[in-house]
Structures are given as C-alpha cells and as structure tokens.
C-alpha cells in the first residue's frame, strides 16, 4: 500500500532532480532536502577516494572536500538538535565519519613514507631507544660470556645449548681440520641464494618474535637474547679451543655485524615497549604503550631491511671470500650502520612542517 510517489521521487540517486522542498510538511525535512545534494556529492567523492581511484577526482572535488565535510558536520550538529528522523541522523553519522577518516586520514603514500623513513625517521627512532639498546647490548654480551663459561666448565652444556642443525660436525672434540672445513671458501655460488632466502626468513622470524615478546614487560625478550647469544658463546669457545677463533670471528663477522646489530635493535625495540608499559611516566599506560609501539615498529622495519642485507652478505661474500676480506667487509658494515643510525642527522625532519614549506 505504498504510495507511488515514494519510490519515484527520491528512490534513485542518479535522478538528480532538485528535491521538492515545498512538499515537505516538516521543517526538519525541508532542512534535509535543501542540503541533500551536497551530501550526495560528498558521498560520491568519498566513494571514489575509498576505492583508490584518485585520478578520477577532479581538482574542484578535491578542493570542495573539506568544505563539504564541514557542511555535512554542521548539518549533523543542527539535525541532532532539530530532527527526529533516525534514518537521516544515521546517514549523516556515517557520512561525517567516512569524511572525517579521509579529511584527517594519512596523507602520504607508501613512497613518501619510505623516503621520510629512510631519510631520518629510522635513525631518529633508533636514537630514541638508546637506553634499551644499551641494555640489550649488555644482555647480549652477558649471554655470550655465559655460553662460553658454561661450555668451558662442562662440555655437556654444548649439546643442550647449540641446536642440532649446527652441531653436525661442530662439536666438542672435533679435530681442527673438521672445524676448519666448516669455515672454508665455497667454490661456486650455486645454492647460495636459496640459502640466503632461508636465512632471511628465519632471522626475520626471530627478530619479530624478540620485538613482539616485549609486550610481556620485556622479560621474554631478554630471555630470547640471552639464549641466542649463549649459542654464539658456545660456538666461540669451540673454535677458540681449536685455535681458530680469528678465522671464525671473520667468518661470522661478514654478516654477523649486520645481523647481530639487527637482533640487538629488535630486542631493544621489544624492551622499549616493555619498559614503557612498566613505567609509563606521567601519561596513561595506553598512551605510553602506543607511542613506544609505534616507535618500535619503525625500528622493526629497519631491522627487516638490515636482515635482507645480512642474508645477502651471509650467502655470498661469506662463503666466497677469504678471512681478511671477510673481516674488512664485516667491519665496514658495522661502521656503516653506526654512522647511519647515530651520526646521520637531518634537521629538516626535526623542524615542524611549516618551516619545511
């Protein structure tokens, strides 16, 4: 028993006939009909932005978006006080919310973000977690020494510390020649890129774990760091015992300086979150955790990039170059990261946006 006028007059949006404002008996409906075309235009622009079709939007529309948003927002404020039309109010709520997300949404694309990130954002975040980096460094050194001392006292520890994948030929009592062979230069690069891909995936997993476990006040992060470094300590002892400490360090250092640095930063980022949650300072725990988490996330993107470097270094130069080259390469990478993170500062990024423009 629906009146026919209902479905024809406003049923379809593309019939852009001006609404019959005089026909509305209610003042609030007249208010709505007068503004409805602006709302439809805003909705249309929003739909295109949300679909990512930015090129389809004319300059006029882009310029009109903030104005249309403010119009819709003030319509909503008025409608809340004068109208009891629940459907219109719900529509305006949703429209203003969608517009708000776009007007106050992130304004930079992926590449702009990446440029800002590599050109100072990453270094700044890493400098901001210096205290946690120091703690992580201390814990890692302590873990290495622990591993060394444990295995030196009792070689049984070696088997419980070092995972079986490393303990193939590298075990206490192995001859110097056997150990030397594990450090040898490979003759061809065959199979190396697959190895690099595997290493990257594995290390990225461990780093993300170290970061994410910081959530439990940082304690599991510390344990993870200690455990990983104890393995290193045990291996160091093994090669030292066979008189091969120097070649082993060079062999490890090629990628190790990059990789261990990355793991240090991942652990520091996790610790940072844990520390900020345990001691939020004057702000609420939520605000502190969010700030620390976002800083940590930046560091983690840097960590993943470092691990890509590390995996490439580990697969190719390490297996294909001699001891001196390995050592030089490892030191060079360490210096490179230190300079990039701690000495590379750009005032441009610290200055507020208005100064930049």
């Amino acid at each position: 028993m629906k009146a026919p006028i209902l479905s024809t007059l406003f049923g379809k949006q593309d019939v852009a006939a001006p609404p019959d404002i005089e026909a509305a008996t209610l003042r609030s409906d007249r208010f709505r009909l007068e503004r409805e075309q602006d709302w439809a235009r805003l909705e249309d622009i929003l739909a295109r932005i949300e679909k990512g079709r930015l090129r389809g939007i004319s300059d006029d529309d882009v310029l009109a978006l903030p104005t249309l948003y403010r119009t819709a927002a003030s319509s909503l404020a008025v409608a809340r006080e004068t109208s009891l039309d629940a459907a219109t109010l719900a529509y305006l709520d949703s429209l203003v919310q969608r517009a708000w997300f776009q007007v106050y949404g992130p304004r930079e694309g992926f590449f702009a973000w990446m440029r800002r990130f590599l050109g100072g954002g990453l270094s700044r975040s890493i400098r901001e977690i210096w205290l946690d980096s120091c703690i992580a460094l201390f814990v890692m050194i302590a873990g290495t020494i622990t591993g060394w001392l444990l295995v030196m006292r009792d070689q049984e520890w070696y088997y419980s510390l070092v995972p079986t994948q490393f303990a193939d030929s590298r075990m206490p009592g192995a001859s110097r020649e056997t150990l030397l062979r594990t450090l040898e230069v490979e003759e061809s690069a065959a199979g190396m890129s697959a190895f690099a891909a595997y290493l990257f995936q594995n290390n990225a997993g461990v780093s993300i774990l170290a970061f994410a476990l910081g959530f439990a006040f940082g304690v599991p992060t510390l344990l993870l760091l200690v455990h990983n470094m104890a393995v290193l300590g045990a291996l160091l002892w093994l090669y030292w015992d066979a008189g091969l400490l120097w070649p082993f360090v060079a062999w490890l250092g090629v990628h190790g300086t990059t990789e261990l640095f990355a793991i240090l930063l991942a652990g520091a980022a996790g610790l940072h979150i844990g520390r900020k949650m345990a001691f939020p300072g004057t702000r609420g725990i939520m605000a502190a955790a969010a700030e620390a988490g976002q800083r940590g996330a930046q560091v983690m993107v840097g960590v993943v990039l470092m691990l890509v470097f590390a995996a490439i270094l580990e697969a190719f130069p390490r297996q294909l170059a001699g001891t001196e080259t390995r050592f030089i390469l490892g030191s060079f990478m360490l210096v490179f990261w230190l300079v990039y993170f701690y000495a590379f500062r750009r005032d441009r990024d610290i200055a507020p946006e208005s100064v930049r423009a």
């Binding site: 009146a3 629940a86 949404g105 988490g293 976002q294 940590g296």
Partner: protein, 313 residues
C-alpha cells in the same frame, strides 16, 4: 512483534558506542566492532591467504619439477633455486604484507574487514599512521601465527603417535591468552591494538533513505487509497515519545504489512480509536508526520520527550 529483540539490539549498540570529538567540535559516534565480526573478518583473511599461498606453492613446485624434467642439470638447479627464493620471499611478503598494505590504504581495512563493514582507526581520534598499522600487525605474529603453527605441528605429531604434550599445552595456553585478551577490556582491544594505539570500529555505509514527510498521507494527512483524512488531537499525540516515533519510523521504512497492522492496532487502542482495516499505511504515515511535528516543535523549545513513560512532554 520483535520489539524485544530490537530493544536488546539497541542496548547492545549503546554499550559499544564511544564518542570522538572532531576538531570542528562535533561529537562523532563510533561503535566498537563486535568481537564476532572481527573473528569472522580474521577467518576470511586467513582462508584467503591460505588458498593463495597454497596455490602459489603448488604452482612453484610443479615448475621446479618441470625445470628438473627438462634437460641439463646445471641449468635446472639454477632455475629451481630461483623458484625457491621466489617462493620464500612471496610467502614472507604475503603473510606479513597483506594486512599492512591493506590497512594502510584509504579504507583502513583488510578484505575480510571490508566484507564485514569494520575498519581500523586510531584510538585517540587522531590520524591512523603507517607506524601504528605496522605495530599492530607485527604483534599478530606472536598472537596468532606462532601459536597456531606450534598447535598444528603438535597435532600432527600427536596424530603420528609422538609425545609432544608439553609444548602442545603451552601453545594452547599462549593462544588462549591472546585470543581472550579482547574480552577483558572495554574497547575489545587485542594486544596489537594496545601496542599500536588503534582500535577496530564499525564503518557503516548508510544509504540516505527517503524523507518520510513528503510522501503519501504524511503530506496532507489524507489517504490516497480511501481519501480519508487523519487528524490527531494534541492529547492523542501526547501519549508517545521519541522512542515510539523511531520504532514507527522503522516500521514504515520496513514496509511489512503484518507489522503495520499490529502497530496500527496498538496505536488505535492507545488513543481510543476504532481500528479499521485496509488503510494502515496512510494512517501510520499521518500519525508519524504529526507526532514528529509535535515532538520536533517541542525540541525547538528545549523540551524532549524520551518515550511514552516520560512525563515532561
């Protein structure tokens, strides 16, 4: 009538309602996404990722097999290695990048979230930054992927008759702690949301419904079917408030004859009219328009009548 379930839904909706004040000074209502919607979205995303990654893995395996079948061994190991690298990187990028890339986009939602009409937003009402999206998704690894992997492995080992008991239990407990996390805070935050300062809210896309007062009997008060004119007196309109008005609006927009008959009868009984038959919609439209005119008139003078029990109107 399903008014009981409707009011229950309203109560549930009201409990999830939060307000964010925009820079224009307007309090925008947000509704915290329901936990079931989020679980559903996650399952859709998960299934999608599984299907895509398994398909790609099978294709890569077949290609590797093909590389070995075709001719010289040196070339084919190189090709196989390249495919392995490709597969590993693809796997990593897909499972870590899918959520991040889609949530950084203008809609702030993965495909699953879009389907269920929810999105990620910044908890403090500010911008949703790239860093926040990264942080909330890095935590997903320990919340979900890691314990799930251990659980799956554990079940496979258990099925093979091996003892995997201890880690199976710890993985289950781990999984439960993070899965239950959203149930122990008001805004249904998961651990990743807490770290990133985000939350997941409803992103409704309401269509603008027709203006009810321009149509049918609401316009002049007379029915197009019978020509009868409905006029209600001040006392007759005074029995109902805003809650009843909105229920009536819903009935008119749904346009279901049996619901309209029931409401028509209820109103007639309340105001002491003799319920007729056959012209319910016109009656209700006229009643709606006149009740709304009365209540909105009161609003302009600062008088609001919440519902029929409210004596102030």
């Amino acid at each position: 009538m399903n008014t009981a379930s409707a009011s229950l839904r309203d109560a549930h909706q009201a409990r999830r309602r939060r307000e964010v004040v925009t820079p224009e000074g307007i309090a925008l209502p947000f509704h915290v996404a329901s936990r079931s919607a989020r679980a559903g979205a996650l399952m859709i995303d998960f299934l999608l990722l599984l299907v895509v990654s398994i398909t790609v893995s099978i294709v890569i395996r077949n290609m590797t097999q093909g590389a070995f079948d075709a001719g010289e061994p040196e070339n084919s190991t190189g090709a196989a290695e390249f495919l392995y690298v490709l597969g590993t990187l693809f796997w990593f990028l897909l499972w870590n990048g899918y959520f991040i890339a889609l949530e950084m986009g203008p809609r702030g939602a993965t495909l699953g979230k879009r389907m269920l009409g929810i999105r990620v937003a910044s908890h403090d009402g500010g911008r949703l930054t790239a860093e926040a999206v990264l942080a909330r998704n890095l935590l997903r690894d320990i919340e979900l992927f890691l314990p799930l992997t251990i659980l799956l492995l554990g079940l496979i080992f258990a099925a093979a008759g091996e003892d995997f008991g201890w880690s199976l239990w710890s993985a289950t407990i781990w999984f439960l702690i993070f899965m239950l996390f959203p149930f122990f805070n008001r805004d249904a935050l998961r651990a990743g949301d807490l770290i990133a300062g985000t939350w997941v809210v409803d992103a409704p896309k309401a269509k603008l419904a027709a203006a009810l007062s321009t149509e049918g009997a609401a316009r002049g008060g007379s029915s197009t079917v019978t020509g009868a004119e409905y006029r209600f007196s001040e006392e007759e309109l005074a029995v109902y408030g805003e809650y009843e008005l909105q229920t009536l609006e819903r009935v008119l927009r749904d346009d279901r004859p049996e619901a309209m008959e029931a409401v028509h009868e209820a109103i007639c009984r309340k105001i002491g009219w003799n319920p007729g038959a056959g012209d319910e919609r016109a009656f209700l439209e006229a009643f709606y328009a006149q009740l709304r005119a009365r209540l909105e008139g009161g609003m302009r003078f600062g008088k609001r009548k919440k519902d029929k029990f409210d004596a102030s109107g």
